[in-house]
């Protein structure tokens, strides 16, 4: 006779004030397959933990986003935010879908060139651009978004030296009624810094002001804040038109759209409160169309959306190492997924589902990672079905920032697999090995030998 699925015995005290989910239809459905490939098979073949990215979902997301903006506004350009996820396979998927590259360091700039993006389609943001970086960017006709005055002077100097016009924009920070206000990047709108910087650029012979850029914050839940930002940039553009009779080519609204993740401490889940891409598109495009731009001279609208396009395309697969009861009676489960690879667990309550069928019985559980470090808590409290050792689970919405902010700490980083639109798997980043790390290290001669 076929044996039944084992579930550990469980008994819970019924407290009057405690909601209990026994008997209720299950809150979860197991995530057994990703793009038609069994989680079990993926782990068997590529190991656990494992990042899995859906190429189809990336393409769906960017197409949906483009449609949202292009149906509302005549000239739209997306630029892939490298820092959100700069695995080449991911970047190139976006480039195939028509996205330019948006980079914030010399390293990312070189990565974009390496991916075959034309220099003139690379947007160079961020406060740290070295002289070498800038020279390269000027030479390649890249769009340089100036962050501070020192950088402005440096670009002016370099462009003169190279005898080449630099295509520049300024990053503008402003009060859009949201908190916190990101005033550390770029030039402030309200106190006139931005206007001062614009005047300096307009008076320079080797700088061409091609655009205006802003990036109002991260994980924004208010489309209205973008409308405010768009109005303010349009106002600057109008002042430029009046004073210099100069039309800028583009308005870059940056990124920051929220994904469907749930921020820690939020009462309602992200799936309920995060605005759709259509709502952001409506707010931004309406503001631009209603502004003072002449109808035949609407600027190109650039979007650097990262998180909202990539978060839900990736899953992190892992396994249960053990179950333990803590001294205060709470259940804890140790996973092979830790904060070293799931950096975003510091600020999200990720959706986590078992990868195999389970019963409706659940228990409040602390989820720990495998690191021998007290900070390695994936979740302080989650109501999960009863998982046995070795069983698998799937963390959802991990596409943004995890594969760039992950740490090589205590253990090695795992593989990343992309499943293509024909359900074929491709390893797009190998797991680290001892060798890949030792290759970077050098031991001075006098430290090579020891006796113990």
């Amino acid at each position: 006779m076929e044996k039944l699925r084992y579930e550990r015995p469980l008994i819970k005290r019924l407290d009057g004030n405690m909601p209990n989910k026994f008997g209720m239809r299950s809150d979860y459905t197991p995530k057994t397959h990703i793009e038609g490939v069994a989680v079990k098979d993926l782990i068997k073949q590529y190991g656990s933990p494992l990042f899995v990215i859906s190429e189809r979902q990336i393409r769906d997301n960017i197409r949906k986003a483009r449609k949202a903006f292009e149906t509302r506004y005549p000239r739209v350009q997306f630029a892939w935010s490298y820092k959100t996820n700069y695995l080449d396979a991911v970047c190139r998927t976006f480039h195939q879908e028509g996205s330019w590259a948006e980079v914030v360091s010399g390293f990312e700039y070189d990565k974009a060139l390496h991916n075959g993006v034309e220099g003139s389609k690379i947007i160079f943001n961020g406060p740290d651009k070295s002289s070498a970086d800038l020279e390269k960017a000027i030479n390649n006709n890249s769009l340089i978004h100036i962050d501070h005055l020192d950088e402005l002077y440096k670009i002016q100097e370099l462009s003169k030296k190279q005898n080449k016009t630099a295509r520049v924009a300024i990053r503008v920070n402003m009060d859009t009624g949201i908190y916190p206000m990101w005033d550390r990047f770029g030039f402030n709108y309200e106190n006139g810094q931005a206007w001062t910087a614009i005047n300096k650029i307009m008076q320079s012979e080797t700088l061409e002001l091609v655009g205006l850029h802003t990036h109002i914050g991260t994980f924004m839940l208010s489309p209205n804040a973008y409308a405010t930002a768009a109005y303010k940039l349009a106002e600057l553009a109008r002042n430029i038109r009046l004073k210099y009779n100069h039309e800028i080519n583009y308005i870059d609204m940056g990124g920051g759209f929220a994904s469907h993740n749930t921020l820690k401490g939020a009462y309602l889940p992200g799936t309920d409160i995060s605005p759709s891409i259509n709502e952001f598109a409506e707010a931004i495009t309406t503001a631009l169309i209603n502004s003072d731009f002449p109808q035949n001279k609407l600027p190109l609208l650039i979007l650097e959306t990262g998180r909202a396009l990539i978060d839900d395309t990736a899953f992190l697969l892992g396994s249960v190492i053990t179950n333990k009861r803590l001294s205060d009676g709470r259940r804890s489960t140790i996973l092979d997924i830790g904060v070293n690879i799931l950096f975003t667990s510091f600020w999200y309550d990720h959706k986590i589902t078992p990868a195999q069928p389970f019963t409706q019985y659940t228990e409040d559980t602390v989820l720990y990672g495998p690191l021998c470090m007290n900070i390695d808590v994936v979740r302080e409290n989650i109501n999960l079905p009863l998982l046995n050792n070795g069983e698998h689970l799937v963390v959802h919405n991990v596409g943004a920032y995890n594969m760039t902010q992950w740490m090589q700490f205590i253990t090695l980083r795992p593989r990343v697999v992309m499943i293509d639109t024909n359900h074929q798997e491709h390893v797009i980043r190998d797991n680290e090995t001892l060798k890949s790390l030792l290759d970077l290290e050098h031991v001075p001669d006098h430290l090579t030998k020891f006796d113990l």
């Binding site: 039944l4 550990r8 015995p9 819970k12 019924l14 026994f22 009861r325 046995n388």
Partner: protein, 86 residues
Amino acid sequence: MKINKHIAVSDSGFVFNPVTGESFTANPMGIEIIEMLKKDQTVEEIHAAVLDKYHTDNTTVEKDVAEFFELLKNFSLIDRHETTEN
């Protein structure tokens, strides 16, 4: 291992201790084990029964059943003084 015989267990998984007035819910595996305890089955018999019926291994069952007994003890469903029997 003696379970308090007054404890009422229903099919729905509801466990009531009329002596303390506390109520609990248990999953089917929990109920099965409590029923076995009520029939005075030994720990070894319980292990064997679980292994026979379910897809699992000895280590897991031993560990989980021991932990379950700890919970029963904490909830005063097993008499603490008799746990050294068997």
